[in-house]
Symmetry: C2
Subunit: 209 residues, 2 copies
């Protein structure tokens, strides 16, 4: 999906495959901690407990590490989407639908904590940004289809617009969660947010005015 220099040595033994992942994990930690630019390749190697030379056996350069990380992240995300959007929602209340869609994302974002920091900034390369945009489009498409399943009358245009709004709201939710780390407060915010989402979905599902 994302490729550029493809100069790196392809791991052929289990040992090197492990190191590859070790480096990626270390990079993810550092990117999250100090940001992409401030994370030097030497520091990544040190964090992974791997010599700098070994790092460059598997990665063509610093940006290549970011791209590999992005690939991993995007794959996980895509899988989440597929599971999410292929689920059968017939017979469920709107509240139940919202629960089943939102909860996995919250779990995902907790697992991949901090990773997105590296991608929120403006330092990302153009094709990485494109990959993220592609993912965003897939999300909108998935939500759109789900909305049209709820309301057969919905035009493509209106469904796309509503899906964009919902995507924005969900992203906003994650932003709101970052500002306060108190679990009780976060749970409250999530509950409130779900209500808002359900209300909006209900409005769209009912044809609205």
């Amino acid at each position: 999906m994302v490729d550029k220099k493809q100069k790196r040595r392809v791991p052929q033994q289990a040992r090197s495959r492990e190191r590859y992942d070790l480096i990626l994990d270390a990079a993810a930690r550092l990117f999250a901690g100090v940001g992409y630019e401030a994370a030097t390749t030497n520091a990544i190697a040190r964090e992974a407990d791997v010599p700098i030379g070994s790092l460059y056996q598997y990665f063509a350069g610093k940006e290549d590490i970011l791209h590999a990380l992005a690939d991993r992240y995007l794959e996980d995300m895509q899988q989440l989407h597929e599971e999410s959007f292929s689920a059968d929602i017939s017979g469920l209340s709107i509240e139940e639908i919202v629960d089943r869609q939102i909860d996995p994302y919250i779990a995902f974002s907790e697992q991949h904590l901090g990773f997105k920091h590296a991608f929120l900034g403006a330092e990302v390369s153009a094709d990485l940004a494109a990959a993220m945009a592609e993912l965003d489009d897939a999300v909108v498409e998935g939500i759109k289809t789900a909305l049209q399943r709820l309301n057969g009358q919905l035009s493509d245009k209106r469904a796309t617009m509503a899906a964009t709004v919902l995507k924005g709201m969900v992203k906003g939710l994650f932003g709101a969660l970052e500002s306060d780390t108190d679990p009780a407060f976060q749970a409250g915010v999530i509950a409130e947010y779900k209500r808002a989402l359900a209300d909006y979905i209900r409005r769209v599902a009912q044809g609205e005015g």
Copy 2:
């Protein structure tokens, strides 16, 4: 609000005051264009058509430029908030309130286009992040007060939570606006978003369930 080295020469003639702003403008353009890290001080000086030595007469370093820029931005934002939250909303419909609150922010974000890019990343310094968080808190506080004006029964806790949700939704709106630049589509998204905001506010105002 944000200070660190304070080593810069304080402009005493009109000429140098102009240059100071010239440099800030150039920095804002470059930060928005290529990001904070990639924007070299030499490039900023070139963009501002000012020698590198002059740049360092007014700014103690690269980070100092970012801080000065942040100060300018935060001041503008704070003024916007004050105007926004001091407005008399009695007798207005929820839809009108939403219009009057959201529209100025949209105009502001268009004027300060791209600036926030420099601040969304993880590269910001700790005290700058603190300044942004402070601003966020002020927003939540303002929304909270407005909500309690709409519904006297609202506890501080619930009002704060609802305000956090609303703040998140608005931030999500700006994210959604970035993904598609088609004005017609954007206008539609804004309209949809306003509906969602109004619905949620109405729910909170009515005591909810």
